[in-house]
Structures are given as structure tokens and as C-alpha cells.
């Protein structure tokens, strides 16, 4: 049997290949050109991401599978690739500023970001359980290391250990689910799995259902759904801030991408059997995330619980499981990217050296000492809370209207109540910035260019998507 790899096959993995090759190149670069200024490495990483973005344009308009049904290229793939690449580029920009403040060696950091981005893109374009699994592990193993990147700091290492142990535990469940599904379906190809579930829609064998449930548990860990969220606050708090930002956006988007690939293909036909389980998960996730976030005084922990709550909102879109699911979920993921990376960029600036100033009390009076930074933070907080002119509102609106279309009235009511709860802790930050006196006289360092670019992009993204969501939505549909 000859190996037949055509041009289409190669083009379909072009962004993944570019990013991985650039990662290898950067590793070799630091070996063979040790004199080169190491500060340049993150910039080279951004260059690699930029090339991959260019490569991704070649995928536009392609439709179909490649590598004998291992990856699928469609509109979802292209959009997700852009999403992951932008996340990587912005996180690297935050890293550059963080690096200047921290004096921690970030030499291996850039290649790891690139490799994990490749893993995310593999997940987003997966057409087989095998590629989903390998993409997930490539992403996760890189993230375990990145969580522990301040390896002389115990919080960072403990975050890495916790993330690693629980992540590997979740991998066990995920794999068992994949094994059961494979055993029943006879293939790991997602299209064939979908066909199997459609054919047996009236009487799905218990083993196959158990398999899907275990797969959902595995992904639930990665996107931090509520019974499986225990790692999130500690890991987000312990990891270096740029890693937290990258993890919060990238890993979550990749997890939901995989859920969309598995569910939107397989489970439409059996949605009625287990959407109730997902319904309960969504409500639990939103409620626990928002309620516990109320009492947090550390900005990283607060954003961690907020990210759990947002996973709940996104799951509402998945529960809807109609033709609005994919557009509304992906739109929300894009909005979430800008809001969260922006908030973490501001947090990086405020935190300063050694991340000493991560408590919300350090945000007091920011509106007077750093008006622009505070204004940007206010925009992010309003968007996270879902106030009308921002993109956060539009995102929630589409998610909830997708759920309403499928008749989940109570779910939407609970979601709106949760949004109202969340207003309290987001506005808490705004109140601290504008209505309270600074807690200490120590001035926050002026905003560094890298973080400045991220904040600017994030604000523009939120405002643009908030006022003109039509263009993006028409692309997604």
C-alpha cells in the first residue's frame, strides 16, 4: 500500500505545520545562535504565528476531510484556527511585557506556546477521536509545563502538579469513553460515529451512551464544568499571568471546539436522551462559578471563577443543539477571547514584579492614577458582565436566543439571573477603580508596549463586535 499524500492534505494542515516547524526552529535557534538577543525569541514566535495566519487564508473555501478522514477542513476549522492563532499572538505579547518585569527565563516558553497552539488547532480540525486525543494531549502537556514555568515559585509548581494530576486523571476517563465508543461503533471516525448514533437513535446501546458520557467528563475537566472544576482556581492563581491568560482562553476554546466536533456531529440524533444531563451541568456551572466569584478578593481567582461561569454560558449554547449552536458558541468564544485576554493584560500590568499586587484592593484609585488602563479594564468588566453596548451582551444574547429556539425557557431564565449575579463582582472592580482611594502610594509602572497592543486590540474587538456583530455572524453562518 503506497503512501498517498496529496496537496489538499498538506494544505489542510498548513497552519498547524507552520506553527510546529517554527517551534522547532526557535528551539534550534536558541541552541545554535546563543549570542542572539533572547528577548527577540517571543517576537520570532509572533512572526511564526503571523505566517500561520497567512497560511490559514489558503484554507478558506475548502470543504472536506484530509489524511484519510483524520482532519476535517470547513468553515469552523478556519475560524477556530484564527481564534487560536490570535490567542497565541496576544499571549506572547503579554509575555514580552511580563518578561521585562519578571526576569524569568522565557526561552523555552515561546516554542511551548507554539506547540500547544498546534495541539489546539489539531483539536479544532479533528475528524477522528484519535486526532482529538493527540491534539488535546499536545496542548495539555505543554500547558502543564507552562503552568509551572516560574519554577522557583512554589505556587507555580503546585499549580503545575495539580493541573497535571487532574488532567491526566481526566485523560483516563476520556480514553475509556473513546474505547467504549470505538468498540460499539467500530471506528473512531466522527462521521461514522454520527451515522451510528443516527441509525440507532431510537435505541442507543448503553455502552455507547456510557462512552459518550465518559468523553464528556474528560472534556468537562478541560473546560472546567462544575463537578470537574476543582483545579481551575488554584491553577489559574498559581500559573504565571500570561499562561493563565493563554490557558483561560485557548484551552477553553479548544475544549469547546472538541465538544462541538463530537456533539454537533454525533449527538443531534440522541440529544433528547442526554441534553438533560448537560442542562443540569450548565446550570450548576453558571451558578457555582458566579456565586463563588462573589467572595474572591484575588483578581486571578475571581477571573478563574468567572471563566467557570462563562463555560456554563457557552454550554447553554451547546445544550440548545440546533443550527444556532455552532455560530453562537463560536461567536461567544471569540468575544470571550478579547474580554479575557484584555482583563489579564491589565492584571499583568497592575500585578507588577513577582505578581505581588493581584488583590482587588490594588485596583483602588486606578481611575485617577492610570485613567486609560482603568478605562480599558472597565470596558472588559462591563463586557464580561454582559452590558448592552459591549460584545459580551451580544454573545450572551445569541447563546440565549439559540436556547430559546429549542424551548429551554427555564435554562435561559436561570442564565439571565446568573448574569445579574455576576454584575456584582465585575462592578466591584470598577467601583474600586473609580470610587475608592488608592491603597498605597506606589505607582504602577507605565503600560509597556506589548501589553498596550493587547489591551488596544481587545478594546477594539469588544467595541466592534458589540456594535457591528453582523459581519462576524454572517461569516460563522
Amino acid at each position: 500500500m503506497p503512501i498517498a499524500i496529496g496537496t489538499t492534505d498538506l494544505i489542510s494542515i498548513l497552519p498547524i505545520a507552520i506553527v510546529s516547524l517554527f517551534g522547532v526552529y526557535l528551539l534550534l535557534q536558541s541552541v545554535f545562535a546563543p549570542r542572539m538577543n533572547r528577548i527577540l525569541i517571543p517576537y520570532l514566535g509572533i512572526l511564526g504565528v503571523g505566517l500561520a495566519v497567512v497560511g490559514n487564508f489558503f484554507l478558506i473555501g475548502m470543504e472536506g476531510t484530509a489524511f484519510e478522514g483524520m482532519v476535517r477542513v470547513d468553515r469552523l476549522t478556519v475560524v477556530l484556527n484564527f481564534l487560536f492563532l490570535i490567542t497565541a499572538a496576544l499571549s506572547l505579547l503579554i509575555t514580552i511585557s511580563y518578561h521585562e518585569g519578571e526576569h524569568v527565563e522565557f526561552l523555552e516558553f515561546t516554542p511551548l506556546v507554539l506547540f500547544s497552539t498546534a495541539g489546539m488547532m489539531v483539536m479544532g480540525s479533528a475528524e477522528s477521536l484519535m486526532t482529538i486525543f493527540l491534539g488535546l494531549e499536545t496542548m495539555s502537556i505543554a500547558l502543564y509545563v507552562m503552568a509551572g514555568f516560574r519554577r522557583t515559585n512554589r505556587h507555580s509548581l503546585e499549580a503545575a502538579l495539580k493541573y497535571f494530576l487532574l488532567g491526566a486523571f481526566a485523560t483516563g476517563f476520556l480514553l475509556y469513553g473513546m474505547a467504549l465508543t470505538y468498540g460499539m461503533v467500530g471506528s473512531t471516525n466522527l462521521t461514522q460515529i454520527a451515522q451510528y448514533f443516527t441509525q440507532n437513535a431510537l435505541d442507543v446501546p448503553l455502552v455507547a451512551l456510557m462512552g459518550l458520557a465518559l468523553i464528556i467528563i474528560g472534556f468537562g475537566f478541560k473546560v472546567a464544568l462544575v463537578p470537574f472544576h476543582m483545579w481551575t482556581p488554584d491553577v489559574y492563581q498559581g500559573s504565571p499571568l500570561p499562561v493563565t491568560a493563554y490557558m483561560a482562553v485557548g484551552a477553553k476554546a479548544a475544549g469547546f471546539a472538541a465538544i462541538l466536533r463530537v456533539i454537533s456531529l454525533s449527538a443531534f440524533s440522541i440529544a433528547f436522551q442526554w441534553s438533560e444531563i448537560l442542562w443540569v451541568l450548565a446550570v450548576l456551572t453558571m451558578t457555582v462559578g458566579n456565586v463563588v466569584a462573589l467572595v474572591q478578593d484575588n483578581i486571578k481567582r475571581m477571573l478563574a471563577y468567572s471563566s467557570i461561569a462563562h463555560a456554563g454560558y457557552i454550554l447553554v449554547g451547546v445544550v440548545a443543539s440546533n443550527d444556532q449552536t455552532v455560530p453562537s458558541v463560536v461567536f461567544y468564544l471569540i468575544v470571550y477571547l478579547f474580554m479575557n485576554l484584555g482583563a489579564f493584560a491589565v492584571a499583568t500590568m497592575v500585578a507588577g514584579q513577582n505578581e505581588r499586587r493581584v488583590n482587588i484592593q490594588y485596583y483602588r484609585g486606578l481611575g485617577y492614577t492610570q485613567p486609560l488602563l482603568a478605562l480599558a479594564m472597565a470596558v472588559f468588566m462591563f463586557s464580561l458582565a454582559g452590558f448592552p453596548p459591549t460584545a459580551g451582551f451580544i454573545g450572551k444574547f445569541y447563546i440565549f436566543s439559540a436556547a430559546l429556539q429549542s424551548g429551554y425557557v427555564w435554562l435561559v431564565i436561570l442564565g439571565v439571573i446568573n448574569s445579574l449575579i455576576s454584575v456584582y463582582y465585575y462592578l466591584n472592580v470598577v467601583v474600586a477603580m473609580y470610587m475608592q482611594q488608592p491603597v498605597d502610594e506606589k505607582k504602577i509602572a507605565p503600560v509597556l508596549p506589548g501589553v498596550g497592543v493587547v489591551i488596544l486590540v481587545a478594546v477594539l474587538g469588544i467595541v466592534y463586535l458589540g456594535i457591528f456583530p453582523g459581519t462576524m455572524l454572517s461569516v460563522l453562518r
Binding site: 486525543f133 494530576l165 485523560t171 474505547a179
Partner: protein
């Protein structure tokens, strides 16, 4: 001659997987927790191979191959994290690590 029913392998796999789950939840030593996770992965491999034989399909064998690669990579990174923590804290007990409340 009838041979061995596939269900025997699947039950053995379920037993080993559950043992691994028990190990992860009750042990406090990070290395032992990690070994229990390895036990879970091996249970999964057994299931894959049993299904592969039942379906007469090579995909299960390839999947096991991939799981082994991933397990090896996880071991390298996981043990590196554990060693790094031990250097800093002289402990591998998840209780001693204050932040680590499950």
C-alpha cells in the same frame, strides 16, 4: 474450541480502571496517584485491544500505540514536575502542599 469470551477482558479492564480511580482518590502521595493513573490507562488499552480483536479492526491497535506514546510523554513531564516540587519543598504529599485541596 470456544476460546475466551471478549467480555472477560472487558470486565478485567473495568476492574483495573476502578482500582486506578480508587488509587487516585484515596492516596496522598503524588507518585502513587500518578501510578494509579497509569493503571487506568493500561485498563483502557486492554479494552481497546479486546475491541480491536472483536471488530477485527487495526484502529484499536494504533490507538493503543498512541496511548503509550502519550503515557511516556506524561511520565517524563509529570516526574519532572514532582522532582521540581520535591527540590523546593522536600515533599511529595499532596496534603503538605497547602494549595492543593482537591
Amino acid at each position: 474450541m470456544q476460546g475466551i469470551p471478549i467480555s472477560h477482558f472487558l470486565v478485567l479492564s473495568a476492574i483495573l480502571f476502578s482500582l486506578g480511580v480508587i488509587g487516585v482518590t484515596i492516596r496522598r502521595n503524588a507518585i502513587v496517584i500518578f501510578m494509579s493513573i497509569e493503571l487506568m490507562l493500561n485498563a483502557v488499552n486492554l479494552s481497546f485491544l479486546a475491541f480491536s480483536n472483536y471488530l477485527n479492526n487495526v484502529e484499536g491497535q494504533i490507538f493503543v500505540f498512541m496511548v503509550m506514546v502519550v503515557a511516556a510523554a506524561e511520565v517524563a513531564v509529570g516526574l519532572a514536575i514532582i522532582v521540581a516540587i520535591f527540590r523546593l519543598r522536600e515533599t511529595v504529599h499532596v496534603d503538605d502542599i497547602k494549595l492543593l485541596k482537591w
